[in-house]
């Protein structure tokens, strides 16, 4: 929705800029359910968002909120018993949900790439770095091995790996965690995709390396105008990196807006709880606030607002389902539109029915 707003702004200022602001990906009420023996698990239940080229969208939520499944749905890699049951994922004018296996394979790793959490696990331990990178190129581009090898070297240099020729002949176990994640990022960028889905890529790294990786990923996105969905549970990471933040809870986006906006003025009680539980914000010695209770099982979510059982603002109104999109502010050039899924949004400026 915000992208549409951005789009209109772009059109207003200059017609040539329109393609610049057309979203790289537009997801509309995506539903991915898992049909288990215990019942239907609605891992993703009506998620809508869009990402513009060169934009980084932070998809934040705790474990089991459906953020990773959203990513896998986009890649078309939901294994049975799971299935994308509803919704559209418009990418380059086509709905990813409608594509068959062969068409999807052409897009995977080529137009949409993915970076995973644990760089120890995502590189094949028995294949050399060059083998794996060349393979990624040759799977989608009709070039010679030599050209592919040169592309691999350039890609490694691009993500700040010193002496890329030497690193190419290494096995993954000969590289440190940070190096390995750089290689994984280089592989993701090697075919110049339009969209990269990063699934907690810095969680397994120590903080100094994490900062470098974040910086490099951000720069690459800006430079190559690649849209990025950065999936994480770490608000601190997303605050520094993302342009916009979407907060997920129990398979739904409960709040979305500009990164600074959401961090500084959270509208959803859940977002506020998340921010309150980050150590950096509290006084030394003061207790961290925590969200009471536990994430509800996706098998039996409370009716109405899924967060109401843990929310201190919850009342009778919350027994009903909160509106999917409640705009608090219109999008402006500097601040993208805000959305919150709550009957009692926080903050004075809110005027939601």
């Amino acid at each position: 929705m915000s992208a549409q707003a951005e789009n209109s702004v772009g059109t207003a200022s200059s017609g040539a800029e329109t393609s610049h602001h057309a979203p790289a990906l537009e997801v509309d009420s995506l539903k991915t359910h898992f049909f288990t023996k215990a019942g239907i698990v609605k891992a993703v239940d009506g998620v809508s968002f869009s990402v513009a080229p060169g934009e980084i969208l932070g998809l934040v939520g705790e474990s089991g909120s459906g953020k990773s499944i959203t990513g896998f749905s986009l890649m078309g890699l939901i294994d049975p018993p799971g299935r994308v049951v509803e919704g559209q994922m418009i990418f380059a004018g086509r709905d990813l949900a409608q594509l068959n296996d062969v068409e999807m394979r052409k897009i995977r790793g080529n137009r949409i790439a993915m970076i995973f959490q644990d760089p120890m696990m995502t590189l094949n331990p028995v294949l050399r770095v060059d083998t794996q990178m060349v393979e990624a190129v040759l799977a989608h581009q009709n070039v010679s091995r030599k050209t592919a090898l040169e592309m691999a070297r350039d890609a490694l240099a691009q993500v700040g790996i010193p002496a890329p020729e030497r690193r190419l002949t290494n096995y993954p176990h000969e590289l440190s965690g940070g190096m390995r994640q750089r290689v994984a990022i280089a592989i993701a960028f090697i075919n110049k995709p339009d969209l990269i889905i990063a699934d907690e890529p810095t969680t397994a790294l120590d903080v100094t390396i994490q900062a470098q990786i974040l910086f490099e990923a951000q720069e690459l996105c800006r430079k190559t105008r690649t849209a990025m969905i950065w999936i994480t549970h770490d608000l601190a990471v997303v605050a520094a990196l993302a342009d916009r933040i979407a907060v997920m809870y129990a398979g739904r986006i409960v709040e979305m807006g500009g990164a600074d906006d959401v961090i500084d003025r959270p509208a959803h009680p859940y977002t506020e709880g998340l921010i309150g539980s980050v150590p950096g914000h509290s006084q030394h010695g003061a207790r961290l606030t925590q969200i009471p209770g536990m994430t509800p099982s996706l098998l039996n979510l409370p009716g109405g607002c899924a967060f109401r059982t843990r929310c201190k603002h919850a009342d009778q109104a919350c027994l009903a389902e909160p509106e999917a999109t409640a705009h608090m502010t219109e999008a402006t050039v500097s601040a993208p539109a805000r959305m919150v899924r709550c009957f009692h949004p926080l903050g004075g400026g809110a005027n939601v029915a």
């Binding site: 094949n124 294949l127 000969e174 440190s176 190096m179």
Partner: protein
Amino acid sequence: MTSTLSDDVSDVQKLDGTVGDAAPAAAADSPFRRFVFEFVESPVATAALVVLALIIVLAAIAPLITPQNPYDLGQVDVLDSRLPPGEVSMSTGMTFWLGTDGAGRDLLSAILYGLRISLAVGVASGFLAMAIGSAIGLIAAYAGGRVETLIMRLVDLQLSFPAILIALMLVAVLGKGVDKIIIALVAVQWAYYARTVRGSALVERQKEYVEAARCLGLSHGRIVFRHILPNCLPPLIVVVTVQTAHAIALEATLSFLGVGLPQTEPSLGLLIANGFNYMLSGKYWISTFPGIALLLTIMSINLVGDQLRDILNPRLQR
């Protein structure tokens, strides 16, 4: 621990603009050299490897070094039959260092020629069974669902019968001959490979690098054979050695029972069977020396296999 530390240092060096070298020690010490180094750590395994190498070389060049061609009836004199070790031939004057068998064949020559056949049959059936079995196991693990159930129940069925029984039945149907023995051994052994490979492929399949390979848009064949298979190799190598030894023993058993190789091309099992009749009359050498040769072969293969398992098992890594 130290290696990750130095790697992180290189990450930091990069910040200063200096070119760091991630792992100079690892580059000098290639995986193969480390493998060799770890292997020779055990003196028993090293000795077994030397013995095995010696056996293989002797078997390979047998026609060049043996004093007699035991298959050439023109060189065999029945008058020399059942001579004890060290005896001299009555007709040709050659010395039978390990004695002769009932047909007057020089046992040393016969053993070396027998080793040729035993090893060839064992290795050929071992590798054929590995190729077939691991392909089936990989397909089962990757495909999952009904295909997997069907294949694995077939494996269970196969393994629930004693190997010797199936081999006996097959040889009885197929008839004698080296090729038929190999077919029978492959039919008996593919299931072991299928089960082993399926087991490790199931584990590998769950790993993120397979998901990452799928995210790269690679084809199924490429993921299975290029990404999953190499990661299943360590347990496979161990099974190959064990099953090759097993195949040699099984072939010897079949030949001993008289359903294996023809009399004119005696393998070790047949030699043992031939001498078995003379055991009670004190002519021990006819059975004993081929038996020792068989024992040495199987034992050295097994010891090498054990050491390989220890090296290749990540859980036992020191």
